[in-house]
Symmetry: C2
Subunit: 210 residues, 2 copies
DNA sequence: CGTAAGAATGAATGATCATTCATTCTAGGT
DNA sequence: ACCTAGAATGAATGATCATTCATTCTTACG
C-alpha cells in the first residue's frame, strides 16, 4: 500500500517583490483563521504553497513578516480613506461623506477576514511599541484629513458650535467601535444598520449635508 | 563569591478561591505588560510569587486560566455598567447618564492596564469561539440594559424619531472606539476630551437630559 | 546548449514553553 | 505534641516552533 503522493509541484522562481506580497497575503489569511497568537511560520508558508525556508529568505524573521503585514494592512485601509476624503472621486463635499461611509462599511473593509487582522494587531499594541508606532502614524494622517474635510463642511454649511477636531475624533471612534461590534457580535448588528448608525451621527452634526 | 540568595520565603497555604483570584490578577498584569501572545505560565506564576506547578493545580491548563481571566474582566466591566444603568446609585435618569459616563472614563476602567487586556482578548475573538461567546454574552446583557435606559429617557423627554436600540448600539460603539483611541493614540486624546465626546453624543440625542 | 547566479527547499538544530508528578511542607484536628 | 490531608514546589519531560544552511533546482544570458 503506497501513501498517496502529494502531487510533485514544479518549483517556480519569481521576483522578490512578488514573493513578499504572496507571503504577506498568506499571513493575513492565517491570522484571520487562527489568530495572531497561534499563527506559525509553518502555517504561513504552507498557506502560500511554499517551503518553510522561504520566509527567512525574504523577511529574515517572523517579527519582520508580522510588522510588514501590519504596515500593508494599515496602509491599505488608511490610504483608501484618505483618497476619498481628498476628493479624488467626488468634488462635492456631501458626496465625499457618502463615499466615505460606503467605503467604511463596504465589501472590502468589513470582511471578517480583514477585521480580524485589524483587531489582532490592535490587541498587541499595548505590548509592542513598534505596532503602536505604525498604527498611530496612519491614524494621525487619517485624522488630519478627516478634520480638514469636516472643517470645510462646517464652513460651507455655516454650522455653529461644532469643533472639527472633536467631531473627527468622535466619528473615527464610532467607526472603529462599529467594526468591532461587527466582528464580536455579528448577530446583533448588520452592516446595513452599522452604516445607518454612522450616517445618523453625521446627520446630527451636518443636517444639510446628508 | 556567593550568589545573592533569594530570600527563602516560607511556603503559605491558602484556600483554593484565594489562589485562583491571585493567579487571575497576575495573568492580567502579564497580559497588560507583555501581551496575550507572549505571556507564559512561568511569567504568570512568578508575578504571583508562586511556583510553576501551582497553575496546573488550580486551572489544569493555560487555556483554562486565560478563559477564566477573560470571564473575570468581562464581568467586572459589564456588571459595573449594568449596576449604574439599573439605578442602584441614582434614581434620576439624568444622573444615571452622568454616572455611566463617569464610570466609563473613570480611573478604574481607563487604566492602560485594563484596556490592554480588554483589547488583547478582542483581538483573539475572531479565532477563538469561546472568547466570542463570553464577550458577546456580556455585551448583549449590557446592550439590553442600555436600550431600556434610553427607552425610559426617550419617554420621559418625549424625544421624537429616536430608536433606543440603534442609539444604544451607537453609544456602545462610540465608547469602545474611544477606549481604543486612548490605548492606541494616547497623545491625541485625553480622558477628559474622550469623556466630552461621549457626553456630546448623548447631548445631541437627549438635549434636555444632559 | 551550457553555465552560473541566486531562488527555493526541507531536514536538522536548538530554544522556548506547557505540563507532569514525586517530593516537601503546612496547618487544622485530635 | 503528633498526625495527616492536601496545598505547594520545581526539576524533568516532551512537544512545538523559529531559524539555519547544505543542497537542489530554475532561468537568464552568453
Amino acid at each position: 500500500m503506497k501513501a498517496a503522493q502529494p502531487p510533485k509541484k514544479r518549483r517556480k522562481i519569481l521576483p522578490k517583490e512578488q514573493r513578499r506580497q504572496q507571503l504577506i497575503e498568506a499571513t493575513i489569511a492565517c491570522i484571520a483563521r487562527y489568530g495572531l497568537a497561534s499563527t506559525t511560520m509553518h502555517m504561513v508558508t504552507q498557506e502560500a504553497g511554499l517551503s518553510v525556508g522561504i520566509a527567512n529568505l525574504h523577511f529574515e524573521t517572523k517579527e519582520n513578516l508580522l510588522r510588514e503585514t501590519l504596515r500593508y494592512v494599515a496602509e491599505e485601509y488608511h490610504t483608501g480613506q484618505i483618497d476619498i476624503m481628498r476628493g479624488r472621486e467626488a468634488e462635492n463635499l456631501s458626496d465625499r461623506l457618502t463615499a466615505l461611509l460606503n467605503f467604511q462599511f463596504g465589501k472590502g473593509v468589513t470582511q471578517r477576514r480583514k477585521m480580524s487582522v485589524w483587531f489582532a494587531y490592535y490587541g498587541e499594541v499595548g505590548a509592542r511599541p513598534i505596532y503602536q508606532k505604525i498604527v498611530s502614524a496612519w491614524d494621525r494622517a487619517a485624522a488630519r484629513e478627516l478634520e480638514s474635510l469636516f472643517a470645510s463642511i462646517i464652513q460651507e454649511g455655516g454650522y455653529r458650535d461644532v469643533d472639527p477636531g472633536e467631531l473627527a475624533m468622535g466619528y473615527s471612534a464610532l467607526i472603529d467601535g462599529l467594526h468591532l461590534a461587527l466582528l464580536v457580535t455579528p448577530r446583533e448588528l448588520t452592516k446595513q444598520s452599522a452604516r445607518k448608525i454612522g450616517r445618523d451621527f453625521l446627520q446630527r452634526a451636518f443636517p444639510n449635508h446628508i
